[in-house]
Symmetry: C2
Subunit: 280 residues, 2 copies
Amino acid sequence: MVAVTHFSDRLADAVGRKRSQLVVGLDPVVERLPDEVGGDIARFCFGIVDAVADHAVAVKPQSAFFEAHGSEGVRAFEQVCAYARAAGLLVIADVKRGDIGSTAQAYADAFIPLADAITVNPYLGRDSLEPFVDACRREGAGLFCLVKTSNPGGADVQDVELADGRLLWHHVADLVRELGESLVGECGLSSVGAVVGAPFPAEVVEARRLLPQAPLLLPGIGAQGGAPGEVAGAFSAGPASALVSASRSVIYASAGADWRDAAHAEAERLAREAWGVSLA
Amino acid sequence: MVAVTHFSDRLADAVGRKRSQLVVGLDPVVERLPDEVGGDIARFCFGIVDAVADHAVAVKPQSAFFEAHGSEGVRAFEQVCAYARAAGLLVIADVKRGDIGSTAQAYADAFIPLADAITVNPYLGRDSLEPFVDACRREGAGLFCLVKTSNPGGADVQDVELADGRLLWHHVADLVRELGESLVGECGLSSVGAVVGAPFPAEVVEARRLLPQAPLLLPGIGAQGGAPGEVAGAFSAGPASALVSASRSVIYASAGADWRDAAHAEAERLAREAWGVSLA
């Protein structure tokens, strides 16, 4: 039997080795691609992977921007995941899936082979998440469950006040903590993490308190207004306990012929900033 | 400018014409397919479409079971959607997507061209649903937002008690009602509907009260234990105001050589039962 390494241990190793908590989101939109790639979203993503591989610990391909191109786009998604892993990056498939048990299993079958971790949606409750948790246990995968998302409208559901005075997302955080309790690696972190929007620093601190062993994936750095310095509280469980995720500000750092260099420079800048914040 | 027909009006027309509220869920699992189709999920679904086209008003391909086969499976999904529409069936793409605005737009771009309606997840709030609502308005698409799902674990999040004494899913129902208010067709129903699990008859009645103009998609008929007679309250807003959705009990009605005939017979039985209930 092959020993399975916890996702969280692989993550902690990569963070320490690269001195980086940067995740680069791959959101390819044809209209924004540099002329050089001729509208080929896979080719663009390969270029970004090459440009950021030294400074990012992971890439996060956003499935929607590939699915918008139908089955050909999904083929590109598969190729980009494989390319990024070959370049030594962890892959977080941003798919936000959530469905009843037997269907959730099919989604696990779809994405766990392609990626090191995936994002999931908690609205269907515990039994919809368990097939993914089983995949963490069995195959060393990781999970990032939506808790408090980076968009303003997330508050419509996530910030609803409960009978006990808490907000709904606090309750979801408890669910995530319970699911991850049996999956804590040697690094002290669980393979079951949470998505918490970087534009909400106070909520990031509260999420850290509610989820002391969960890696926090913090999207919304850059184009959505967040900065590593504003989410310092997320790192209190160790340097690998939070990942800062930037998409458009890195991949579209330049629309000109210098797009690779510009993406490289912005990734380097963000990675240094986050690393510094995590040590402070 | 071409006049766009509301999804709800197309739905009401099809329900009246076929005297059916049956939606057949397409959940192809290779291990359960009849020998005849040689493990080809598209070929199996074509056979089911042919078998149920007279008695079902729509099919609901479950994306996960196609995505489990990677980009080839997604190609099959595209083919099955096109085949079902050519056979005169409405297509409800069961994708349960939900993401922040710019990403939700990419999902709308992915699925609105393939299907008449899609299922969506409300956890990310109003601004995550608006790109889909815009597609309803612009392109005559329909939407079914998860409100109270058919799985037992759905209660973990959806049945949490709020400060005002209601449950979370009541609040989500309000959100769905507000989103759909400007999209009511000539039939009196909105193009923005809700998913409510058939195994919870009391909740179906409550959902009908909270959402007087929303088509209710009621999964969980058959293998999950629900029956049309138990959800009679859903039809009080008219014969097209509720759709009963059965998957495994229809498509796997027989594992033998008579699989088409068995699916046909079970579809006919469920459609008659639901139609009778809706008139009572």
